[in-house]
């Protein structure tokens, strides 16, 4: 993986120390020739006095964090005088002044580590592959019997190039986990970087750590809709893929889930091109799934223990049970319509039976109940297509997640409340299944773009925020790993960001860099960050004592924006065509007219239900199954009412005595 050190390298600089600027165990200064390839972020090696043959020489690795240039000029005025006040003539000065390139480097590693001493005043070399591995303490996990190295990009500086690896034990757990990436829109390549890193994880996740999958929430347009389609890669990108030993191919196994639109048959996603829509699984949930996560719907603007208590009551005592409302009504709530009926009868009951004098029912205040009712019924109208009375049409395969598979959940077009719901339920379910070791994989990377929306630094403690906090604090033991992305790190909850073992930065905004979170960076590093080119990232990782700059290739997948150009989304089709399309997907032999005749005067939700059942069951003969679930028609008949009603019933004949 790593090229062996080139023989007899030449020194490019020399460590210097003055009383004013001494070398310390963690920092040193060196000078180079004026013409040098060294720059901010370059990794260098200091070879102390004493020859390498003795093996006792102290070797120090450092990363350049600042640079200075100056000459022996006493004051700027001397230069003005020398050029006789004409800048154009300054270059013609008879004697060239002595000029110096002077660099500050932060120590990455010293060998031997003990005793920790100031950096020796030795020669400075550019780091090669092996040096980079040493400097970043990657040797331990790269060359071990069970390597855990995951390539994240190439260190390219000073004309050198070396792969940089993250340690899977610190990226996916259990030692540390999670990754956070931030940077300005469009230039920081946040989404792209995560896509690339997932490809890299799938290629390099060590076998001894088991099976790994990813769950990605698509929250922006078509961003993650085409992860299974190849993108345009340049030769340079391909070379980088080779260098990092990551296949330059789109994800082999991608499962896409999208809720339906309000019509219940068209998919609410931008991946609706006829060639691709077939792979999209509808995601719909029922009352049970919603009530299980009803707190999500409430805590958005207010936390209310009373509402929680009432929701618990609904869950434990009402849902799916025979329930007496105390006003003479018996309920069995299994759908939103049932729930509405229950609420109406409680409110009516309070009004009529109690004469409006009582405003509590079974210790629950009417205001609390109204609030819960509104939120629950609200979601069923606002997220129609995600939330239906029919229950799950298809859900994620909670017990059979597959190895190296990306599960994309497209909620880009869903109401924010619905997004929270999807989010809360998916992540909670993942956690639950991982805890029971029943998910089918040992680790899951959950990618959340726009993390600032879900775990903002200010505002109330929402259910989703608490959940994200919980994952970031405990997920690493479970294999539940959060990859979060946002433009401004400072807007995300501190503990969510802080718990990310690996921090990645793309091109940053200057104002953002001025916030307290970036104080540790030198001005030079900051200005590099503020001008970082596309495709370059700064990485912090537990093994790296200093942030490191890397380059990564463009992700191997079709960019969302290009995807919708190459595969333009289809217009919504009429109900019956959408049904035909979904059935044909299950069985190419089905003829559209067969289906259309079958559903001609059926109610849409019966058709949807039959369709959902067919999709769930995946029968050998989908049409026959669909027809069966739909059921045959029973024609109406009107009994000969008039004659019969007036027909006198025959008197009983005498043999029909009372038999008992």
């Amino acid at each position: 993986m790593i090229d062996k050190a080139t023989p007899s390298p030449t020194a490019i600089g020399r460590v210097v120390a003055t009383e004013l600027k001494p070398a310390t165990p963690h920092q040193f200064h060196f000078w180079t020739a004026t013409e040098t390839t060294v720059g901010i972020g370059a990794i260098v090696k200091v070879q102390g006095a004493g020859s390498t043959e003795q093996g006792a020489a102290r070797v120090v690795y450092g990363v350049v964090t600042d640079g200075f240039a100056y000459s022996d000029l006493a004051t700027p005025l001397h230069d003005v005088v020398g050029a006789e006040g004409d800048p154009a003539r300054a270059a013609d000065a008879p004697t060239a002044r002595q000029e110096i390139r002077y660099w500050t480097a932060a120590v990455l590693r010293q060998t031997p580590e003990e005793p920790l001493q100031p950096v020796p005043l030795g020669q400075v070399f550019l780091a090669d592959d092996a040096d980079v591995a040493q400097a970043l303490r990657m040797d331990a996990f790269l060359y071990s019997a069970t390597p855990t190295a995951i390539p994240i990009g190439l260190y390219t500086s000073a004309g050198r190039e070396a792969p940089v690896y993250l340690d899977a034990d610190f990226l996916i757990g259990p030692e540390a986990a999670h990754l956070n990436i931030s940077g300005v829109s469009g230039l920081a390549t946040k989404t792209s970087a995560v896509e690339f890193l997932l490809a890299s994880i799938f290629a390099h996740f060590p076998p001894h750590k088991g099976r790994v999958a990813a769950v990605c929430f698509n929250v922006k347009g078509p961003d993650l809709c085409f992860l299974d389609q190849p993108g345009n890669l340049s030769d340079e990108d391909r070379r980088r893929y080779d260098r990092l030993v990551v296949p330059a191919q789109p994800f082999e196994r991608v499962k896409l889930y999208a809720p339906l639109k309000a019509d219940g048959v068209n998919l609410n996603t931008l991946r609706t091109h006829p060639d691709l829509v077939g792979d999209v699984e509808p995601l719909t949930w029922g009352l049970q799934e919603v009530v299980d996560y009803a707190e999500v719907l409430l805590n958005r603007d207010d936390i209310d223990a009373k509402a929680d208590a009432f929701i618990d009551f609904l869950r434990d005592r009402v849902l799916g049970r025979t329930f007496d409302d105390g006003f003479g009504g018996t309920h069995r709530v299994q759908s939103f319509a049932d729930l509405d009926r229950l609420f109406r009868s409680i409110f009516d009951g309070l009004e009529i039976t109690a004469g409006g004098r009582s405003d509590t029912w079974r210790t629950h205040h009417i205001a609390t109940m109204r609030k819960v009712r509104n939120r629950l019924l609200n979601i069923s109208t606002r997220c129609k297509g995600l939330v239906t009375d029919d229950g799950p049409a298809s859900d994620l395969p909670w017990t059979e997640f597959e190895d190296r598979t990306v599960y994309v959940i497209d909620i880009a077009n869903v109401d924010p409340l619905g997004q929270d719901l999807v989010f809360a339920r998916v992540v909670s379910k993942l956690r639950e299944q991982l805890e029971r070791r029943e998910l089918g994989v040992d680790a899951v990377v959950v990618f959340v773009d726009e993390l600032n929306k879900y775990a903002p630094g200010d505002g109330p403690d929402t259910y989703v925020k608490k959940m994200l906090l919980d994952i970031s604090e405990r997920g690493r033991y479970l294999g539940l790993v959060l990859f979060g992305a946002e433009q401004f790190r400072s807007q995300v909850h501190r503990r969510v960001v802080g718990n990310a073992g690996t921090q990645v930065f793309g091109r940053m905004d200057m104002d953002e860099l001025a916030t307290p979170g970036y104080q540790v960076l030198t001005p030079a590093t900051k200005s590099k960050l503020a001008t970082l080119p596309i495709g370059e990232l700064m990485v912090r990782h537990p093994h790296f004592t200093q942030p490191i700059f890397v380059r990564f290739p463009k992700p191997p997948v079709l960019r969302g924006r290009d995807g919708v150009e190459r595969f333009p989304p289809a217009a919504d089709v009429p109900f019956d065509d959408a049904v035909v399309r979904q059935l044909v997907r299950l069985d190419r032999r089905i003829r559209p007219n067969q289906v259309k005749d079958l559903i001609a005067d059926r109610e849409q939700d019966d058709v949807r239900r039959a369709l959902a059942a067919t999709r769930r069951t995946r029968p050998d003969d989908p049409l026959a199954y669909f027809r069966k679930v739909l059921g045959s028609r029973v024609a109406a008949e009107v009994p000969p009412a008039a004659p019969r009603e007036h027909r006198a019933v025959q008197p009983l004949n005498p043999i029909s005595d009372e038999p008992y």
């Binding site: 025979t322 105390g326 299994q334 739909l630 059921g631 038999p659």
Partner: protein, 402 residues
């Protein structure tokens, strides 16, 4: 519009070896009597529509007495309520086993009863602005089921009448009879109907706000004692509030179809099922247990009732030494007195599923057990029927063994 919902009459069902003065089986007469009382109440309540959700007769070929009796009672209803249609469906018990086996149910068409015996029927009553989809057991048991949905553009009110097992109902106490067609919420779609009248489960019970089993009119198998417990459990969850649906014992349902408000019409039983408080016999000798049994019996009015006394952990020797004369006397007083002695766990043998190392039932035992319980045509003698079955089985077994 008010609808009366009855189900599971099981006319012709016989039980216990007790005769009426007229010489019919006493239980058969009891079961007829409660239906007669229900008809009395119906004539008073005057519902606009009467539905009977299956299992009118306990068997495909009921006794002549049962056939005649039902005819007389329907006649009474038709003359008393000439404008109220009666819709009846066949249940699991009275569905002909093959199409060739005729069915006595057709007889009642002469009275103008709208029957669905094998095929589903959608019957519209323009006067009531009501459509009834009547779906008998057979229509649900076959592969191609009808769509249980109201007709689009049909009448305003829509009622579904059907017969089958909903969800896991009755599993807990073994009160759901095996063999019913499977029903589910998806299949029934309660939200589409004004009311759904179901038969098969013998305890009155809702499966959706507007979907109910009316229950039977008498305590019938399976496990009548479990049905008593079902009722107790329902009372337990309902709290003692005023205005609740009062439901003790058996009866039928009166439904305001438009609002799906359901009220229970209890029918006074002919006799009661008494489940005496169980006795724990561990550590008791025969004398002491005798005393306890006597105490339980004297605390209840067992005469002419159907009585069970469960006694736990009775040692074989204790059971042998009980005062059998006294027990015979209880048996004589009650219509049926079932002293249900249970052996201690360690002594339990065949038939019990609990406990490790328990002997499994032999095939013969299983068959004997099944034939002893399966619904039979009334004219068949169960004892000889069971014997015949077991003989067949054993002769096959003899042929097979070398």
């Amino acid at each position: 519009m008010r609808l009366a919902h009855l189900a599971d009459l099981h006319l012709g069902f016989r039980q216990f070896d007790r005769q009426t003065p007229k010489g019919t089986n006493q239980r058969e007469a009891d079961i007829a009597e409660v239906f007669r009382r229900a008809v009395d109440d119906l004539l008073e309540q005057q519902p606009d529509l009467i539905v009977i959700a299956g299992d009118i007769f306990h068997s495909v070929r009921p006794t002549n007495a049962a056939i005649l009796f039902f005819f007389r009672e329907l006649h009474r209803l038709r003359t008393g309520l000439p404008a109220s249609p009666i819709v009846a469906i066949a249940g699991e018990h009275d569905t002909p086993r093959s199409t060739e086996t005729g069915t006595i149910l057709r007889l009642y068409e002469a009275l103008g009863v709208d029957l669905a015996i094998e095929e589903p029927r959608r019957i519209v009553y323009p006067k009531l602005d009501c459509g009834v989809l009547a779906v008998p057991h057979q229509a649900l048991a076959q592969a191609e089921r009808p769509a249980l949905r109201p007709e689009s553009g049909g009448p305003t009110l829509n009622v579904l009448v059907s017969h089958g097992v909903h969800g896991g109902l009755g599993e807990e106490r073994g009160t759901m009879e095996y063999g019913g067609a499977q029903l589910s919420r998806e299949l029934l779609a309660p939200e589409k109907w004004n009311y759904i009248a179901l038969g098969h489960y013998h305890t009155a019970q809702s499966v959706a706000t507007n979907a109910w089993y009316s229950g039977s009119l008498e305590y019938l198998p399976p496990n009548p004692w479990g049905q008593l417990q079902d009722e107790a459990a329902q009372r337990g969850t309902r709290g003692g509030r005023k205005g609740k649906l009062e439901r003790t014992g058996k009866g039928y349902l009166l439904v305001d179809v438009k609002s799906a408000r359901v009220s229970f019409r209890p029918i006074t039983p002919v006799r009661r099922h008494l489940d005496l408080p169980p006795v724990q016999a561990a550590g008791l000798n025969a004398k002491e247990l005798d005393a306890q049994i006597a105490e339980r019996v004297s605390a209840a009015k067992i005469d002419d009732q159907i009585v069970r006394l469960l006694v736990w952990d009775v040692d074989r020797t204790v059971a042998r030494d009980l005062d059998h004369a006294a027990i015979r006397e209880y048996k004589a007083r009650a219509l049926n007195f079932h002293l249900d002695l249970r052996r201690p766990e360690s002594q339990r043998g065949a038939g019990s599923v609990a406990g490790a190392g328990v002997r499994r039932q032999t095939l013969t035992e299983t068959v004997r057990d099944f034939l002893g319980r399966r619904p039979l045509d009334a004219e068949l003698n169960r004892e000889s029927f069971v014997k015949l079955g077991v003989d067949y089985l054993e002769s096959v077994a003899r042929e097979e063994s070398p």
